[in-house]
Symmetry: C2
Subunit: 201 residues, 2 copies
């Protein structure tokens, strides 16, 4: 079941995955699916878990805590970034499957190795995770917008039309802005966030 569901999503996006459609694909009745999942949301969470289970465990990691954290979050970000639909699922529930516990453990340990207390490490993890979620959300929504170019390149129009009088900063950034938001520099931005989190360690 999950394989078929994944195939539909991969080909046509999350919105195309419906109980009826999935059942058709499987030549089963729609209601038979409800033996395996509570409802559609449950199905989506199941798929997220599978994706999380496939996150590659890097064979060896940098020993230096900061570099180690960068590498670990890279696994998380890149694994989730590949499948645009995760974003829609993340909105309705946290990522917390048995299969990612090792990663969280590693991240916490690295924060502690960097000098934080266990509680500080937990807070730091939450902060960096939330930042990562934001990155995923925003990068996918801008990707989606460039895809449907007929619709709203509105935002960039808006910024381009800014008068330098009242909004000098935005006016100065008219050229830089589109570049900055397109650029995929999760890694670089995360580094800055980590700087803050490790500051008074």
């Amino acid at each position: 079941m999950a394989d078929a569901a994944e195939a539909i999503i991969e080909r046509e996006g999350v919105d195309a995955l419906s109980m009826r459609r999935l059942a058709r694909e499987l030549d089963s009745s729609t209601m038979a699916l409800y033996r395996h999942v509570r409802d559609r949301d449950d199905l989506l969470v199941l798929l997220l878990d599978r994706l999380a289970a496939d996150l590659p465990r890097p064979p060896r990691l940098p020993r230096e805590p900061r570099k180690r954290l960068l590498a670990l979050f890279k696994v998380l970000y890149e694994g989730l970034d590949q499948s645009p639909w995760v974003v829609q699922v993340l909105v309705r529930g946290d990522l917390m499957a048995p299969s990612v516990l090792w990663l969280i453990e590693e991240i916490l340990a690295a924060f502690v190795a960097a000098g934080l207390s266990v509680e500080q490490a937990a807070d730091a993890y939450l902060t960096a995770w939330r930042f990562t979620v934001g990155e995923l959300i925003v990068s996918h929504s801008t990707a989606r917008q460039s895809a449907e170019l007929d619709r709203h390149p509105f935002q960039l129009e808006l910024l381009a039309a800014v008068e330098s009088g009242e909004l000098p900063m935005l006016a100065a950034l008219t050229d830089y802005w589109p570049k900055a938001r397109q650029r995929k520099s999760y890694q670089a931005r995360l580094a800055k966030v980590l700087d803050g989190l490790l500051t008074d360690a």
Copy 2:
């Protein structure tokens, strides 16, 4: 129209807002709505713009750049946090309405006042904004989960069941974890992020 739409959302959530439903509420035909908006997504973006327009412009702000940034992001976060549905809309498009330009301008100016170049300020804004989006997403999804308590307190169960053998950090945090994720400390976490962003200023 927008008022009626907002009322529906406020009372029954975004999912309850449909074109047909809104038309019924307005005693108009469903299709008449399509004179005002391109489609349902367009309607949602329109509502987000209105909410953004209502963000209060604080009469006076701290002069010190770091404190100023905290105050400005507070406006943003709290304004958006009040209406749980914004999250679903943010996923399908950035927040970039004419009515928030003043805020972005102020934030950029504050970063520059803190010693960043204009381009660095743009990057810093993007980082802090993405972090803020992540905070909004995660805090609402955990709120939603506590609401439907019958479903998945799964995640906490999962963590509580952790064996101290393989996952010592997670085991040590069993008690702290639920507290940490419930606690609404956007402000404190943002402060850490800003530390990182302002570091080599």
